[in-house]
Amino acid sequence: MKVPLSWLKDFVDVVLSPEEIAYKLTFGGLEVEEIEYIGWPRPENAARGQHAQWRQEFKTYGLSWDPAKIVVAQILEVLPHPNADRLTLLRLDDGSGQEQTVLTGAPNLFPYKGQGSLPQPLKVAYAREGSVLYDGHKPGRELMTLKRAKIRGVESYSMVCSEKELGISDEHEGILLLDEDAPVGQPLADYMGDVVYTVKTNPNMARNINIYGVAREIAALTGQALRPLPQAVRADGPAITGQVTIEIRSPELNPRFVAALIKGVTIAPSPYRVQRRLRLAGIRPINNIVDATNYAMLEVGQPLHAFDYDVLTRRAGGAPRLITRLPAPGETLTTLDGVERKLDDFTILVCDPAGALSIGGVMGGAESEVSDQTVNVLLEGAAWEFINIRKTSQSQKLHSEAGYRFARGIHPAMAVRGVTRGIELMRQWGGGTVAQGLVDEYPRPAPTVTVTITPAEVERLLGVALPAAEIVRMLEALEFKCEVTSDRSLITVTTPDHRLDIGQGVVGQADLIEEIARIYGYERIPETLLVDALPPQRRNLALELEELTRDLLVDAGLQEVQSYNLTTPDKERRVLPPSGPADDRPYVTVVNPITPERAHLRHSVLASVLEIAALNTRLQDRLALFEIGLVFLPGEGGDDGQPAGLPDERRRLAVALTGARQPLAWQGADRAPLDFFDLKGVVETLLQGLHLEAVAFAPTTHPSLLPGRTAELQVNGQVAGWLGELHPLVREQFDLPAQPVLVADLDLEVLLAQAAQRELFPAVPVPEYPPVKEDLAVIVADEVPAAQVHALIARAGGALVAQVTLFDVYRGDQIGAGKKSLAFSLTYQAPDRTLTDADVAKVRGRIVKKLQDDLSATLRG
């Protein structure tokens, strides 16, 4: 909302600089988003001084008018230009005592051309040589400096200005004509300089979407008195009674409807000062009647609607009868914006017996609006249920100044204030006679809200002790009525009838405490540290282990990525080869996606990681990525008795490796492609870091992976996911280059549940006696898995074999076809003595015999 400071001054004395006011408002909860300077110096233009400290606080813009160069002047005579029909010469008095000759092409002066001395001189904004103004002939706002020039043989050194040139509006059709009482010679900045605040009003601040509300806040925040809202009306006409009747059929949606009547108005432009205020506030002036409704709305906060009374009379065939009601099935209405609208069954309408006239609280209808021919005006001010207005605005996609205000809740008491102010402004600006009295249907009066509050309660929530008198002073500044018990322990607070945001009971107390904090000033509330008892501390083991997993994978050289959880089934389908089975589990689907690319919650973290791999593969020849994230699968429902329909959110871990084993280097880098065992090494590092036991990699098949290079990870007999080399068809679907891509897709819930069991794993003592190391090369049939040989050695060796490490696998002529040699490094170790050659020989014998018996293995010479 745009708020001119000059308008605020109608209601409150402004004792601080414009920037200090902006600061007070912002810290009091009415954030000033920017400050526009109309003619007044901006702080950075000002000499160092009182404004220096505020210089950078707010976004500011605007043009300052040099007080020595830009002044109020009067045109004494409009003369023709000797050499140009479309130009005129002005005889002008700028208050300097010397008459000036000014050249202009302003079309609004043509009617005065050649009429001799004007009986009523025209007041204008006059800019002398050297003035800095906006260029009226260029689009947008571009600065120019006024220079002396000869135009068609006549010397020009100054000009009369349009609103655009002064930065008031974009109006450049003619020059600005000031009101008749403008004092000649006064600097224009003093006469009509201004500051316009753009104020953000929060949803709970309906009462402040108007000038008077902001003035009330400034009064309270700066300790000044708030002047009363003008409510006097000169009503000389016959009583309104009988000239219009009102019927409210849905009082819960329309608790109040107020109307006033004025007859014999003359439609004309509003006075200049009114037009200027409206423009500064961001509203386009139309004519005096429409302007009066807008002006009163901006000032008081009550949206108003003006009907052409004669149209209503014609439709009714007599005294108009207004009815507010819900629409009949299929009913439509053409609104002021020319759109024919289908109405929802909750849309509240203002009608007469002939049909709908307007959408209550949102927008008027085309037929009954005020036109240039209007003579008699019926002015409506009503109260509407705010949630219904919001629903209507959203459903009709219809956003108006009225709807914006009503949707936030306007107190029904405001209807009378708005209508009273509006009808008087119509009379002042349009002439005519106001009918005495109002028609006021008020079937559902708003309850008076009373809340009791104690200084103790204020201290309990704010942490600052405020005496009852100070609390009362702050609340009364906002027009609350307060009664204090004689012992000053209890304050009974009555909410003023311009606000609906104060609740009952404990909610109302919180509402009042917020008002007290705002007016007292947040900056004055001390900073304390929590004295409340530290709550019972609980571990979050699920998160701790997840973070440990991240650290282990980063230690293994992997880069963490994090993806959108929103994807599409088509994108995810790529993790399976085109011919194979599809993922037929239903998706959680967003019904209003921003883009169809992100409309479903993912089933696969691996698909996300492969997408990221494909994105980066053009730029990097080695990728080692992992992501820990959620998948969203059909589930049983949420916690805390939340309804069914909530998905099962499970954490998964996906790993992808591809490219060269080592980064490119100038010497000695291993540039062979990463393979299955690089991946397995990463997974083993993770499993060891989680101290998992009973881990197995079982050969298996998976549609996404190459047969023969696929393993299922089992922990304690539970399946924890799978790993292997990506199927070439899957690789192609992700546009990954033709090189091995190694992937793991693990169920982190299974893995970490197991890890939680192993958190307190026992450490093994460091042996006191020296180990004995020896190598053992075993020849077995090619199909015997290495893990089986490894396990057999460990088992046969028993307690004295501390470590078994496979360090070579050989196939070839030396050992014959169909066989392989596995070379193990064995570490023998006893906890209580130094092993002798005989001890080791005995154990070795046992191992060799077991290998021979179980696997027909032989030792390689």
Binding site: G28, G29, Q56, F58, N202, P203, I387, K391, A407, R408, E459, R460, L462, G463, V507, Q509, A510, I513, E514, A517, Y522, E523, I525, E527, T528, L529, V531, D532, P535, R538, N540, E547, L553, V554, D555, G557, E560, Q562, S563, Y564, N565, L566, V588, T589, V591, N592, I594, L601, L615, A624, D639, D640, Q642, P643, G645, L646, E649, L664, A665, G668
Partner: protein, 346 residues
């Protein structure tokens, strides 16, 4: 005899000076100090001298032997040094060649910024509480004092799912209700709470450099029998000092959120320019960091806490925004794009 010793010494020392490497030196040692050296022969010849000449000749003989040994040791040390130096020079490398690259891993910036925040709050007794991404309308709005069609809902553009009433959470605030209900369910008296609630949130919003449809949020919640707005100010200012330095100032502006009352925005003094004004703080000297307030009585009630006995404060911040300010990142989309040229900088 004495002359002979003199000439032995002279010749030996001259030969020693000519020994240019350890091989020549060894040959010299064998020749001049060995068992079959001229000196050894001369010394064994001493016995053949007349008795009166023996002491003088013997003394001189020992002197020559010692002189040669000392000279030998000095020469040996000099040669060793020279050879070491030569060897070291031979091993010189071009130190401007790049080092062998280490294929290191890194945490995603999301994880890094969360850990930074977790640490700051853990030191103040706040524990981490996580809750689900897909929520009900009640938890996301209703229990947080935003009944259906409430105008405050306009601030949160929501992704709706095919199941009516099931949405993607627009903020981490539903976690407040989950945490309160969990902590108030056990036993007879509800427990006090001090938690932070990190997580992914989703908003129906055009993706721009400033806003993404999926983003991080972190809230905090403290509930107890004696929690005041002054505690909120103190705790959050303390947090700012832990994160940005002991000197950093904070300020609180009144604001509005449906689930807190009173509500505030906290600004911290710009940590880039120290409050002097710079492009990061748009010359204001201050950075808007988080929203906060006292937990609304209605929210406390929905969480199972009697607002007449309990009070609390809550706050919420955008971890990505904090990270962006710290590293002068101007596009939030980098986080979920996962271009390694971005990720590998952190």
């Amino acid at each position: 005899m004495l002359e002979k010793l003199e000439s032995i010494e002279r010749e030996a020392l001259a030969a020693l000076a000519a020994a240019a490497d350890t091989g020549a030196l060894e040959q010299w040692r064998v020749k001049h100090l060995g068992r079959s050296s001229v000196l050894a022969a001369a010394l064994s010849d001493l016995g053949t001298l007349p008795k009166d000449l023996r002491p003088v000749a013997g003394k001189r003989g020992n002197e020559v032997k010692q002189a040669l040994e000392t000279a030998y040791a000095a020469r040996a040390e000099a040669l060793r040094q020279a050879e070491l130096e030569r060897a070291m020079t031979l091993g010189a490398v071009d130190v401007t060649l790049p080092g062998r690259p280490v294929a290191r891993g890194r945490l995603h910036p999301h994880t890094q910024v969360f850990r930074m925040l977790f640490k700051a709050f853990a030191e103040m007794g706040f524990q981490i509480y996580r809750s689900r991404d897909v929520e009900t309308d009640d938890y996301n709005f209703g229990f947080l004092n935003m009944p259906p069609h409430h105008p405050a809902r306009d601030q949160w553009d929501t992704f709706h799912t095919q199941t009516p009433g099931v949405i993607l959470r627009t903020h981490t605030s539903p976690g407040q209700i989950h945490a309160m209900r969990e902590y108030s369910r056990n036993g007879t008296a509800p427990e006090p709470i001090r938690v932070i609630l990190p997580g992914m949130c989703y908003r129906y919003e055009q993706v721009t450099a400033r806003a993404d449809m999926q983003f991080l949020q972190m809230e905090g919640l403290a509930v107890g029998r004696n929690i005041r707005l002054s505690d909120l100010k103190g705790t959050l200012s303390e947090f700012a000092r832990r994160l940005f330095g002991a000197q950093v100032r904070t300020r609180f502006r009144a604001d509005h959120f449906p689930f807190t009352e009173p509500s505030a925005e906290m600004d911290v003094e710009c940590f880039v320019c120290g409050g002097q004004g710079c492009p990061v703080c748009k010359q204001s000297g201050w950075l808007e960091i988080l929203g906060c307030g006292m937990v609304h009585p209605t929210v406390l009630e929905h969480g199972g806490y009697d607002p007449r006995v309990f009070s609390g404060f809550a706050f919420g911040m955008g971890p990505q925004r904090i990270f962006m300010l710290m590293h002068k990142i101007n596009d939030i989309r980098y986080f979920l794009q996962n271009d390694l040229r971005f990720l590998e900088q952190f």
